[in-house]
Symmetry: C2
């Protein structure tokens, strides 16, 4: 039978079950909220440097996240923008967009899990 903690936790407080998810390989995380935001910002801003700036992240750090992600995927997640020259911006590959879609769906399932667990605190 499930353990209740209703009588233990102060019910007048807004207590929630919170959490974080990531993808890992050999114990090392390579995708989670940070890389997800970076990919979304690249899509939005059209370049890695703009995306990094928008996140207050160094260009070097942004490239490290992308390179690390690329070691886990069959396709690069970012390519130079079509028609672009050196320094002319980057665009996400179709696979990176699918990865974003997957992560959004995963996040939604996790949100449901957390909401159910938060409800359970009250019963």
């Amino acid at each position: 039978m499930a353990k209740s903690v209703k009588h233990i936790l102060k019910q007048e407080l807004e207590i929630k079950v919170g959490g974080k998810l990531w993808l890992e390989s050999e114990g090392e995380r390579f995708f989670g909220p940070g890389p997800m935001e970076l990919l979304e910002k690249i899509e939005e801003t059209g370049s890695i440097s703009n995306a990094a700036r928008a996140m207050n992240m160094s260009y070097k750090k942004a490239w490290e996240l992308i390179n690390h992600l690329n070691t886990q995927t069959n396709f690069p997640v970012v390519v130079p923008q079509a028609g672009g020259e050196k320094g002319g911006g980057s665009t996400l590959t179709a696979e990176a967009i699918e990865l974003i879609e997957y992560y959004k769906a995963l996040r939604k399932r996790f949100k449901t899990f957390l909401e159910n667990e938060t409800e359970r605190l009250k019963i």
Copy 2:
């Protein structure tokens, strides 16, 4: 329909969905793997100072975690050991033990969630 990332992630790598859970109140975390380990070590070693030492945590930090936890509960989680004198050790309250049991059950449900999500990476 659920998005598949099977073709995107390298299938020869052992890729897993990993995660972390905690309890929060007004956006501030007050219980998770750290406080859980601290309570377990207090139960094991019979004192807060021994527990902190076993975790390479300062006595001050251990007390901060406990005090923070106590602000969210209807009962203190730790009391001086019965018959103990000043500095004579601490013991968990029945409610703290229930909190441990609850967290173990929560962790188990989360493990199932993560295993299901890891399976889903392959389909």
